[in-house]
């Protein structure tokens, strides 16, 4: 994950949604690992994250189609972390803007009083 490896590096905009809008549109859900596999230690474990199908409905490029299970899709965990990172940055921007507005309101209120 360095610029040496990447091409087309750009600001994130998926389906005209910002990262924060995207994580709101495809909110993380709680899931429990099914025991359909070979009895691995992950069976029954609770996991949290966005559902691949939901992300695929927003933009198919967000998910990976598994070749050995046709029709099944999966989410790249690095993308989930990256989107959370981008959403955090965007939320930070909004919080900072709100902080500015609140301070301004407090100042104006003080002046009014």
């Amino acid at each position: 994950m360095s610029t040496q490896d990447g091409v087309g590096s750009t600001e994130i905009a998926v389906a005209n949604l910002s990262p924060l809008q995207l994580v709101q549109a495809a909110r993380a859900v709680e899931t429990t690992q099914s025991s359909g596999g070979s009895g691995g230690t992950g069976d029954g474990q609770t996991a949290y994250g966005p559902a691949a199908a939901t992300l695929a409905a927003i933009d198919p490029t967000l998910v990976v189609t598994l070749s050995d299970t046709p029709g099944d899709v999966a989410v790249n965990i690095t993308n989930v972390a990256g989107l959370a990172w981008a959403a955090a940055a965007e939320a930070g921007d909004r919080v900072a803007a709100l902080e500015t507005r609140v301070r301004d309101l407090e100042r104006r209120l003080a002046e009014f009083l």
């Binding site: 360095s2 490896d5 091409v7 087309g8 590096s9 905009a13 939320a91 930070g92 609140v102």
Partner: protein, 457 residues
């Protein structure tokens, strides 16, 4: 004595023959001829001991040889036989040599086919390095000194071949029966608790051992274009199948790297310096599919645990200073790995070489999938602590490439979410305080502050 009775002087020598008196009467010369001797009158007492030599004998009836030793350079006969003593006898004739115990032949060397029957123990020597073949069919191999022998044991038609046991009573042995052939190292006395075994049976070739190794000889150079390696392949009745193969080898380009890869699946694992890389058939990184990635997370496994701060920057600030971007990897647009003209050696069902086939190392292109995340280069400027700088560089195995732990990226986003929630709570409290103050005003001026964190608030 002359005819007149006069005696002459005695001769000086007698050539060893001295005159003896034959009869007690005077008999003149030529006085007794063959006719004067009565048949049967020369009795045993009248013949001197040792007086009859072979020239005087025409035939001998051997049935009268009853004692003593017969000595001859050549003895020709139809059958030679010892007397029967306690039922034991040896016979020797044109058919061969036979040793009898009663009517049972217990030993035989037969002329017709040169076969030999030895029903007792065969000893190649009485001492020193030797072989003993026991009546049971077991062969003992003695060393030059001592009695710690190796053996080939007859197990009712099956075989067990063992070397000498050591001071722990253990040795290597080969067991062959109708169910398997097993090469084992274990205790010889009980054949229990095998320490190591390689076995072939009707359905499997299997190994048991504390260590099972495949030792690749690199001294012979390059056996083919792929180099020395461990190779897994499939075969059918027509011989090896050139697909579905796995190679495990040490990379010649960087000898501290080992790689295991499926040539036909275009995926592999590189064992690098302190990490594992998931790669295509070349060294380009490839995807990992899994239901989850578990990171060791207990405090007991960690040190220097502290709130997230990079200088004066919070986690949320870091996500702003090094913003995530969307991107594609170069190698997603590059040609898929192809074989370097590799021909795969193949064998038929009997292990003979058959025509080699080209390695199937060409693969259809995949659809590039967009990736999202921060750039390691950007973070190197604001949070160098979390940037890996010893990864393979693009297209090489040389270190110096940059990388990020996905766990750390998720962790920073997690920390940022917490910080933002704190900021939200603080803002909500400030807005509530403002609302309270505004509610106390009774001037009728409407102010829209609902305490939510939306741009419209």
């Amino acid at each position: 004595v002359d005819r007149n009775g006069n005696a002459s002087p005695p001769s000086e020598t007698s050539d060893g023959v001295l005159p003896k008196q034959l009869v007690n009467i005077d008999i003149g010369p030529d006085a007794i001829s063959r006719v004067q001797i009565i048949d049967g009158e020369i009795v045993r007492a009248k013949i001197a001991d040792l007086a009859v030599n072979s020239a005087k004998i025409e035939e001998i009836e051997v049935g009268k040889l009853r004692a003593g030793t017969m000595t001859a350079n050549v003895v020709v006969g139809g059958r030679f036989s010892t007397p029967v003593v306690n039922g034991n006898q040896v016979q020797f004739d044109n058919a061969g040599i036979r040793l009898y115990q009663g009517n049972t032949v217990v030993g035989r060397w037969q002329v017709s086919d040169a076969s030999m029957l030895v029903t007792g123990t065969y000893l190649s020597a009485l001492s020193g390095r030797r072989i003993n073949i026991l009546p049971s069919g077991t062969m003992l191999f003695y060393p030059s000194a001592g009695t710690n022998f190796g053996f080939i044991e007859n197990l009712d038609g099956d075989l067990r071949m063992s070397g000498q046991f050591n001071q722990d009573q253990r040795a290597g042995y080969l067991l062959i029966d109708e169910t398997r052939a097993a090469l084992t190292y274990s205790q010889i006395a009980t054949y229990n608790k095998p320490r190591a075994r390689f076995q072939v049976d009707p359905i499997a070739a299997a190994s048991w051992a504390p260590i099972i190794s495949a030792r690749i000889d690199r001294s012979l150079g390059q056996p083919d274009s792929l180099g020395p390696r461990w190779l897994y392949t499939n075969f059918s009745a027509s011989g090896d199948i050139g697909t579905s193969i796995v190679h495990l080898q040490q990379l010649s380009a960087a000898s501290n790297h080992a790689v295991m890869y499926g040539a036909n699946s275009d995926a592999g694992i590189v064992f690098d310096s302190g990490f594992i890389g998931v790669v295509h058939n070349n060294i380009n990184p490839a995807d990992v599919h899994a239901s989850g990635f578990i990171q060791v997370s207990a405090l007991a496994a960690k040190r220097d645990v502290a709130p997230v701060r990079f200088g004066g920057a919070s986690a949320a600030r870091i996500t702003q200073l090094a913003r995530a971007r969307s991107f594609y990897y170069h190698h997603e647009f590059e040609a898929r790995p192809q074989s370097p003209g590799t021909m795969l050696r193949r064998f038929d069902d009997e292990g003979n070489d058959i025509d080699p086939v080209p390695g199937e190392w060409t693969h259809p292109p995949r659809r590039p999938v967009m990736h999202v995340g921060p750039m390691a280069d950007d973070l190197l400027a604001v949070a160098p602590q979390i940037v890996h700088t010893d990864l393979p560089q693009r297209g090489t195995v040389d270190s110096g490439g940059l990388g990020l732990s996905v766990g750390t990226v998720a962790g920073l986003a997690y920390a940022a979410a917490g910080e933002l929630a704190d900021a939200h709570d603080a803002l909500a409290a400030q807005v509530a305080a403002l609302q309270t103050r505004l509610d106390r005003l009774d001037d009728g001026v409407p102010i829209v502050v609902d305490g939510t964190l939306t741009e419209d608030s």
